[in-house]
């Protein structure tokens, strides 16, 4: 991982007490602006919910599906959200194993983002199937028909991959929260105290608890780390293991993982930059953190750049007319606009991050991050649109999304935003205990510890 290993410039002025105080302060009663945002999110979510009801009643035909395009916006959005999740796990698990100092301030927020993103993504396999009410047939449960699902199907792999990812990342988040919730509990009063003490599972931070805890945290991180690579690889095999030109690519797994982290970090910027301002965490989440995350963005963005180039090169070099047609039309076909709104933000915009000025300027980062989100959504859209022109020219057709597609998309953002906002106001979005780990405790004798 190409991240700085220089020690975190921890703020000498800060004591452990300050950390606790500042973080607990973020849980203070919310302002009007917060509730406005929250209601906005809930509103979007309701739009999605109503759209879904109509779809279940009337049929998927409400969406813009146009054979041979049997998948479109729903799967696009599904992959988009799964991708978002990855940055969180990367920062919280992999960087933990790498002991990279800059993760501590941001990992809690990104971890939460992961959980909620996967929560959103997990809805889509249900939304997008034709008979939503029997989605559970995808699970291997004993039934009177003696039927089992088909484990050779990439979609089954998906079910397990997403299920595992959701469970593990959720428990990882909650696990990390326990000591912090305890800390909050000890500051809280009234009914909040009771709630938090329930949630803290009576955590007291005894030597015994800590010794199991830190080991377990290490193992959990070790288990979660490969998920960062596996989950999106599995998702990419939904496409790569088919034989559709434009899907059938061996580079898909690394290409998707890089894309996932890229989009994830993009979303982290989009969420953290305003959040930091709103919760007044400037002295905990600093330019130093953003700079490092920007470097991560640059790194993954450059991998994407390479992957895009490689896709075109392979299509040309293979001499395979199907591949060639697909990629030609991706850039110059009827849907050229989608193709370019994928390539420009992802491949080219990310290259701006070579400049430290841009990396450390939050405004530019924020703007870029918005483009990253759009670009990455379109990447998935464009890849899925390969369906418009596969083997049999007679069957070719273009498709246009309808209100139903946009309704569900909006709903997914509402659903995600709703959860994230609720979390940000009720749980410490910065890991108290881990920040403290990097702030030396006062000593009687002079000199650092041996």
């Amino acid at each position: 991982m190409a991240v700085a290993v220089e020690a975190a410039p921890s703020q000498p002025t800060q004591t452990h007490a300050d950390v606790t105080r500042d973080v607990v302060a973020t849980l203070a009663p919310a302002t009007k602006g917060y509730y406005l945002l929250l209601f906005g999110a809930v509103g979007l979510f309701l739009i999605g919910a109503i759209t879904l009801l109509l779809i279940v009643k009337e049929g998927l035909g409400l969406a813009g599906y146009q054979p041979p395009v049997f998948w479109s916006v729903f799967i696009t959005t599904f992959v988009f959200w799964v991708g978002i999740g990855h940055a969180g796990t990367l920062i919280s698990a992999i960087l933990y194993l790498f002991r990279s100092p800059w993760r501590t301030a941001v990992y809690r927020a990104t971890e939460a983002m992961t959980v909620f993103a996967v929560m959103t993504a997990a809805l889509f396999p249900i939304i997008h199937i034709g008979r939503q009410w029997i989605f559970y047939w995808l699970l291997p449960y004993p039934n009177q028909r003696y039927l089992w699902p088909n484990f050779k199907s990439p979609l089954m792999w998906d079910v397990f991959a997403i299920g595992t990812y959701f469970t593990v990342s959720t428990s990882f988040l909650i696990f990390g929260l326990i000591p912090d919730v305890a800390a909050v509990r000890d500051k809280a009063t009234g009914w909040r105290k009771t709630v938090y003490s329930l949630l803290s599972l009576n955590w007291q931070g005894t030597d015994n608890q800590w010794r199991h805890y830190s080991k377990a945290y290490l193992y959990l991180a070790a288990l979660a780390a490969p998920l960062v690579l596996s989950v999106h690889s599995v998702v990419s095999w939904d496409f790569a293991s088919s034989l559709i030109p434009g899907w059938h690519g061996t580079i898909f797994a690394p290409y998707f993982v890089a894309g996932a982290i890229y989009s994830g970090v993009g979303m982290v910027f989009t969420l953290l930059i305003p959040l930091r301002k709103y919760l007044k965490l400037e002295h905990m989440i600093t330019d130093y953190h953003f700079d490092n995350m920007a470097k991560l963005t640059l790194f993954t963005g450059t991998i994407l750049f390479y992957a895009y180039g490689m896709e075109y090169f392979v299509a040309w070099y293979s001499g395979n007319t199907f591949e060639q047609t697909t990629f030609f039309r991706r850039a110059f076909g009827p849907a050229w606009w989608a193709g370019w709104s994928m390539i420009i933000p992802n491949a080219f915009l990310s290259q701006l991050l070579w400049f430290r000025k841009i990396r450390t300027n939050l405004t530019s980062l924020f703007v870029i991050s918005i483009f990253i989100n759009i670009g990455m959504w379109f990447e998935r859209y464009v890849i899925i649109q390969s369906l418009t022109n596969d083997y049999i020219p007679y069957a070719w057709d273009q498709m246009n999304p309808t209100w139903a597609d946009w309704g569900i998309l909006a709903g997914s953002f509402g659903w995600f935003g709703m959860w994230f906002l609720l979390f940000a106001k009720n749980f410490p979005v910065v890991a108290i205990q881990e920040i403290k780990e990097f702030i030396p405790m006062p000593r009687k004798r002079a000199g650092g510890h041996h």
């Binding site: 696990f175 007291q204 005894t206 030597d207 080991k215 193992y219 403290k436 000593r443 009687k444």
Partner: protein, 170 residues
Amino acid sequence: MAKNTAGVLASFEHIDAACDTIRALRAKGHKHLTVYYSHPNHELEEACGHHTSPVRLFTLIGGLTGVTAAFAMQIWMNRDWPLLVGGKPIVAIPAFVVIGFELTVLIGSLATLFGVFLLSVAMRNKGVIYDGRYSDDRIGVFVPAGGAEAASVERMLRDAGAVEVKHAAA
């Protein structure tokens, strides 16, 4: 609710002081100390001198169960009602690897959590008094001691630099 343990609870501000005290107490034969601190800390862990946590066993067993179960399930279910798809063999091991991996991770991590819960929450020593500041910026050392012994322990703790000492009655 278990009855309280009688003993002395000292709060420290300085980590080196706390560590020295703990070592001293253990040297004097106080085996059942309870040390409170707000974040994972190596010095204190060393001072308490615990062995490595057995939680890793849970992880290992969980992971192994996961991978075996995954393959067992897939192979058995495919043979239970064999259907030809795409000219692939009924038992197609390569296709099963993914789920094999996923279940390893899933059951492995669930087992780990279970382990921690068992060892540190369910089995935590009840009835030992606690102070809210230990989750903030103080280190607490609780020495189970009663009667006369308590007094000597308190004295020693204060000398070691405890900023505050409490007594817990049985």
